[in-house]
Each structure stands twice: as C-alpha cells, then as structure tokens.
Amino acid sequence: MLGFAQLFASRLVKAAAILIAIVVMNFFLVHAAPGDPAMVMAGEAGAADEKFVAQLREQFGLDRPLYEQLGTYVGKIVQGDLGFSYRQQRPVWDILAERLPATLVLTLTAFLLALAAGVALGTLAAVAVGTWADSAITVLALLAYATPIYWIGLMLSLLFSIQLGWLPAFGYETIGAGYTGLAHVADVAVHLILPVITLALFYMASYARLTRASMLEVRGLDFVKTAKAKGLTQSRIVTRHVLRNAILPVITVAGIQAGQLVGGSILIETVFAWPGIGRLAFEAVLQRDYQVLLGIFLVTSIMVILFNILTDILYGLVDPRIQVSQ
C-alpha cells in the first residue's frame, strides 16, 4: 500500500504544478485579448475620457509592471478570489457556485448512466457476436454516435413533453412551486430525465463500441482458454476473466471524457434551458465577460485534473501491475 500512497502523492504534486501553469496562462490570456482592459471597462461604464481610463488603470493596478500584476493575480486566486464580474455586478465565485451544482448533477448522472449502459451493451454485443442482438446494438450505438446531440434532444422533448406530455421540456425545477425536501429532489429528478438521456446516449455509444471491441480482443487471449479448460461457466468466464481485463481501455477513455463533462454540456444546457456552467460560459463569451470566462476555465481545469487523478487511482486498483511500473 506504500506504493499506492506514493503514487497518490506524486500525482498531487504534479497536479499542483499543472494548476499553477494554468493560472499563469489564464493571466496572459487576458493580456493577449485585443485591447486594453481599462478601455473595455471604461467602454462598458459608458464614459471614456483619458482621465477616467487612467484612474481605472491605477485603481486596478494596470499601470504596475507585468510580473507584479501576475503576483497579485496568483495571490488572489490562491485566496479563492476569482475576481468580479462587472456585467453581473457580482463576484465571479458566487456566480459559479450557483451554477456548478446544476451542471454536476446533470453531467455526473449522464456519465454514470452512459458508463453502466455502455459497458453492459458492449458486453452483450461481444458475447452474442455475429447474432441479431450484436447487430442491433452496433446499429444503435452508431446512430447515437452519429446523430447531432441537439437534434436528439429536440426530438426527445418533442415526443415526451409536447406530444405525450409526460416530462417537462426544459428547466431545472418547476418555477414558483417552492418544493422543499424530497419533493424538491423528485421535481429536479423529473426535469433531469430528458437532458440526462440525451447526453448519456452519445457517451454510451462510444463506451459500448469500445467495450465490445476490447472484449473481442481479450476473448482470444490465452488465459481465457485456461479459464475454459478449468470448466468454468460461460458467465463466470465473461465477468471474471474477459470483462475485468477488457474494461481497462474503457477506464482510460472514460477518464478523459469525465474531465470534459463540465465544459462539454453547453449544447444540452442550451437546448433544455438548464442553468449550468455550460450555458454560463456561452453567455460569457457573447457578452465578453472575461472574468467569468476565466473563472470557468479554472474550474474546468480543476475538474480535468481531479478526474485524471481519479482515473489513475482506479487504474491502480483494477490493474495491480500499474503500481509497480510507476
């Protein structure tokens, strides 16, 4: 287990280094943006005489040398201060904290559903390879993968909320209902169904294809022959020997995709009017709200790093050989 702690510690140190690099890059990104931030702010404030701009510069320390500004910026970030959005007249952190839970609930649910359904379908297809079940799953996966995600979202909401009226077509909760406790949870859950399915279908397709291919490859390996020669039942061979080994590449890909979950749901959030980070990012781009955008960059970077560490740990747990080679 010592090797494991060591692995974890080294990952954390690397993560910290990457995070610092991202913060610094963020800083220079602002400076690379065309125009002078003070001019932009002055423009937004509606007054643009020389004196006012100079005053703004002094107020925000923009007249100081670059390295000093960098120091101030990094210092603020470390303290958890992501800046202030002049557009919304609120601290960036408050805006993000309000939007983050909605996105996480949506994407994590979709991710877990996609993973479970994808691996299950992929396994089924691999076991029944060459039969109609395999073909059906392959076609379904191909369709889900190839169809534009917003189109699926629109069609699903057309069918289930407008035609059938079973599910709400958009939003995070029933506005003005004022549910609390369990009733609130149930309300959010009902709103969650359509966006989660839409988002999950896409990821599910890739996991199903990957699991199928990987299982077909592992199925031909020597140790599976050994397992058969032991007289094990088909189901035990598939679960204990084939799937366990076939799941490794799925974990790798899932780890990469999990990192994109926060930023990757812009379309879904737009289609279903979901008040999450994705839509916030979209609006921030349109409004040139750089402070908010930088805050989102930082949060998504942290998510990517976090999921990478999680993937590494999971990999180490599933595959005992990893800890040694590290």
């Binding site: 060591q6 510690a9 080294s10 140190v13 690397k14 390996l221 020597d222 140790f223 022959k225 050994t226 397992a227 058969k228 020669a229 032991k230 007289g231 094990l232 039942t233 035990r236 204990r240 020997h241 366990r244 080994n245 599933v318 595959d319 005992p320 050989r321 040694v324 080679s325 590290q326």
Partner: protein, 553 residues
C-alpha cells in the same frame, strides 16, 4: 481416485476428424485419428507446427474456435463414454475436473489481474463442494506440491511477480487441483529455459507416476520424448503416421517422416573439430559493460539492471563463436552492442583494430556494412509492405549502389540461399518461416559483411527446417569465409555450428573455450548444469539416422 476398468482404456480416440473453415490450406486439420491412452501412461504426440496435435487436445477440452473449426467425425471416448455426445454441462464437469490441461505459454496463460491462488481456487469452486477456507488450504497445499517456495505467500501474488518457470508450476497446480484422470500438456516446456525445462519435466513425470494419471504430452522435441514417453504418436498434416511404444519409435522408427524428424534432432555429443585461428582477430570485445535503467521518475530512483559486465571475447576471420545462455543472461545485449544497436556504458569493441564505441555516427557508418545481423523472428523482421527483392537490395542502395545492379545482385543472393528466381517479386507473407529466415540471411549478405551476428536465427523454426537453415549458414560461412557470432539458448544447436563457445550467465561470460573443450570437459558448474539439462541425453540416436554434423571435418 477411481479404479479404471481394465478392458476400457482411459481415453479412446476413434477416427477423429476436425474440419477447418473453407479456404484453409487443407480441409481437415485432423484426419481420421485413432489412438488410446491408458492410466499410468505418458503418450507423447509429436509433430511439427500445423500437424494438428494441438487441435486434437483442444477438441478434447471443448476449446476449438467454434464455429469455424469443428469436429467433423469420429468419437472421443472417456472411460467408454463419448465426450462429444455429452451435453455441455457434463462436458464442463469433465474439463478441469477429470481432464485437465497445461498450456505452452506460461507468460500469457494466467489472468494478469487475478491472484494466482484465486485462479487455482476457481477450479475447486467449480468442481468440488469445499467451503472457501478449505479451498484456500488446498491451494496452498497444491502450490507446495509443485515445489513453489512460500506457497501461502505466493497464493496472494499476481502472475506478473512470478518467473516463467514459477508460472508453469502454478498452471500445473491448477491442473492437478481436482485430481484429474487425464493430464494434457501442450508443449509445456517449449517456452522455458533448458534448466527450467528439466525441472518442469522432472516435476511432471514424478506427479504423473505418483497419481497414476494418463498423460498426453504434446511436443515437437524428440529429446523430450526420449526423456518421458511410454508411447509415441507421430503426426503429420493431421494424420497419424506412426504409433507405438517409445523404445520402438525412438530406436527403430519405421515411417520415413519419423526417420526424417529424428535425423534432424541436433545431438550435442557431435561437436566440431577445433578451428584453426589464423591471423589477427577480426573483432575483439574488451570489458564491455552495459547497465539498463528501469523505471524511475520524479520521486523514485530508477532500478539498475546490469545486462552485461566485463564481457570480453575475440572472433577470428572464418570462426563461428557461439554465445550460449538462458533468457536474460545478456547474450543479446552483447550481440546488439557489436552491431551498434546498443551503446555500452564502458569497454571497447575493436573491429579490425578500430574501436567502434569511440566513433561518432558518421564514423561508424562504414562498419554498419561490415557487421550484419540476422534476427530471431523471421515473421517480424521483414517489412510486410516491401517486395523481397527490395528488402534485400535496400542496404546496398543506401550505401550508394546502383539500384538495378543491387536488384540483380539480390536475385543472385536469393538463389544462393536456396530460393527460386520469382522470390524477389513476392511479398514476405507468401513465404514460410524457414524461407523468410533465408531472406533475412540474403539481406544480411547483400552488404558483403565480414562478421555476421545471428541472434537465435532458428529458435522460431521447426526442427527439420532448423536443420536446413543451420546447414545454409554453415555453407555460406565456409564459402565466403565469414566470421559469425551465433547467439542461442540451445546448446544442441550451438554444438552443430560453433567452433568456439562462450557461456553466459547473469551478464557475465562464465566459460569460454573451443566447442570440444566446453562439451567434453566443462569447467564451470553452470555449464555442467546446462549440459546436464539437455533433454534426451541418454537416448542414442539410431546409427543409420546419424548424419555428419554440419561443418565437421
């Protein structure tokens, strides 16, 4: 253990035929095969690759790759009952229960993600009613029986922690778990070093005798057959060509194919006459040392593996030096250092007096021509997208030869290594393993080298093909007065072609001398143990089948 009925054999194979999918090189992998296996008997099934010997075993275990390959006819009677006619559940209770199997490749036959104790326990879980603690105790007992140290600890290890020999012992423990009546061993020692092979053969033999099992031992090696067989079945192209008591088949083989196989068995007693060293040495390796750094990272020091230390040897023009040792002994490291594929950490490699290690890339280039290599794997070492003629001509063209002249020369060389003229226009996949190795040799010769480094050039080939390639190498060596460094793990092969033998162990040369000295008066204890481990030493190949070893004067 059940007492077998006297009149019913343990296993009775009658007219077994196995069909290959349409488009295969022949319609039947196994054609009308009939043999029996009795309790307390070792039946060796011998044949070259593609003879259908493994297919037979797989059919018995229900391991044929359905639906492409299927049993087309005949029956497999286990204690009088046809296995092929049984329902799947009953077949499964036989597999691993009454009939167990050990495979060829110990490195890949175990699930890498499962502790070995659990993998053995799975068999018990499937075929017995033992509760979990009793299963665990039995697993430890089994691991102890196959001679593994610290069995309790080892049961908790993952396969990657174990060596090849240890893994094969684990496989044997797994096969023995339910006290089977029949043990099928499919080339169980082919992938192992010669000393490990001896240990595993001893283990298999003692366990078989102790438990009175019937054993079907599949092998291509007549040395191994001589070591353990009671009866022998020789197979060729899916047909049984000879079948009888071991002493008869080994000493009085009847069928021409059996005679041919036995004649191509290399025999270590036949060493060559001493080579008369003439002139200045062509190559001198002087205290070569190479350390590999494995792993390592931000917080971890890398592990040092000494692949070669204090390696010194000389090769004279026209001399063949054999570098013999087990896997991991550093023999390939030395070979690759001489060709310039690896840069040693210290020492000197003098070629005609020039230190190759002191040269820079540009200075080394002329010597790339002079020292050429023949690789082990004839399947992986030829570019599958290039025509054979181009493969052979590429080297000279890279050194400025006119392309058309090089292609003409390539055809000459291909003829010289025994391939016909059309070979130059074809692609590597159209050739068999032995033919590809001939192409590999032609490619090396195209550079007109003075020294040929052959790294296990025949290890991937069948015995009869092995003999042909060795003869070719020897013939070329004599015609062109080539010097050769011949790397091999097989002392019998080394005895056939080498004038001088260097024995390597753990990165060091423990003994070096003429083939005659090393084989008749080995000085080092390790050399003696290597010679002692050669299978089938006590078997005297019938006189009329002994041929004069290649190159003997």
């Amino acid at each position: 253990m059940t007492t077998p009925l006297l009149d019913v054999p343990l296993l009775d194979v009658r007219g077994l035929s196995i069909a290959l999918p349409p488009g295969a090189d022949r319609p039947l992998a196994v054609d009308n095969l009939t043999f029996t296996l009795n309790p307390d008997e070792i039946l060796c099934v011998v044949g070259e690759s593609g003879s259908g010997k493994s297919m037979t075993a797989h059919a018995m275990m229900g391991l044929l790759p359905a639906p492409h390959v299927r049993v087309a006819g005949g029956s497999l009677l286990f204690k009088g009952k046809d296995v092929l006619a049984m329902p799947e559940a009953e077949q499964r209770s036989l597999r691993g229960g009454r009939i167990a199997m050990v495979f060829q490749e110990p490195m890949t036959a175990l699930n890498p993600l499962m502790r070995v104790g659990r993998q053995i326990g799975e068999s018990l879980r499937e075929h017995t009613d033992l509760p979990a603690p009793a299963r665990r105790a039995r697993v430890v007992e089994l691991l102890a029986q196959v001679g593994l140290p610290n069995p309790a600890e080892l049961a908790e290890a993952y396969p990657f922690r174990l060596s090849g020999g240890q893994r094969q012992r684990v496989m044997i423990a797994m096969a023995l778990a339910c006290q089977p009546d029949i043990l099928i061993a499919d080339e169980p020692t082919t992938a192992l070093d010669v000393t490990t092979q001896k240990q595993i053969l001893d283990l298999i033999r003692s366990i078989q005798a102790e438990r009175h099992m019937g054993m079907m031992f599949i092998t291509h090696d007549f040395g191994v057959v001589a070591e353990i067989a009671h009866r022998v079945a020789v197979m060729r192209h899916g047909k049984l060509v000879e079948y009888g008591a071991a002493s008869d088949v080994l000493n009085r083989p009847q069928h021409p194919y059996t005679r041919q196989l036995i004649a191509s068995v290399p025999h270590y007693i036949e060493h060559r006459d001493d080579h008369a060293k003439a002139g200045a040495p062509l190559l001198v390796a002087d205290k070569v040392r190479k350390v590999f750094h494995v792993g390592g990272g931000l917080f971890k020091k890398s592990k040092q593996v000494v692949a070669g230390d204090d390696l010194s040897l000389t090769i004279h023009p026209g001399e063949t030096v054999g570098l013999v040792g087990e896997s991991g002994s550093g023999k390939s490291t030395l070979g690759r250092s001489i060709v310039g594929l690896i840069k040693p950490d210290s020492g000197r490699i003098l070629f005609e007096g020039t230190d190759l290690l002191a040269l820079d890339r540009k200075g080394f280039r002329p010597y790339r021509r002079a020292v050429q290599m023949v690789f082990q794997d004839p399947y992986a070492s030829l570019n599958p997208r290039h025509r054979v003629g181009d493969i052979v001509a590429q080297g000279p063209v890279a050194f400025g030869e006119d392309r058309n002249r090089a292609l003409v020369r390539a055809r000459e060389l291909l003829a010289m290594v025994g391939l016909d003229g059309s070979a130059a226009d074809r692609f590597p996949h159209e050739f068999s393993g032995g033919q590809r190795q001939r192409i590999g040799i032609a490619r090396a010769l195209a550079m007109e080298p003075k020294l040929l480094v052959a790294d296990e050039p025949v290890s991937a080939l069948d015995v009869s093909v092995q003999g042909q390639v060795l003869e070719l190498l020897d013939d070329i060596r004599r015609r062109l007065n080539l010097a050769m460094l011949f790397i091999t793990h097989d002392l019998r092969v080394a005895a056939q072609v080498c004038d001088t033998i260097a024995v390597m162990r753990r990165g060091r040369i423990v003994e070096m001398g003429t083939a005659r000295e090393v084989f008749t008066h080995p000085r080092d204890a390790y050399t003696r143990s290597l010679l002692d481990a050669i299978p089938g030493k006590s078997w005297h190949i019938p006189d009329d089948l002994q041929k004069v070893p290649a190159g003997a004067h």
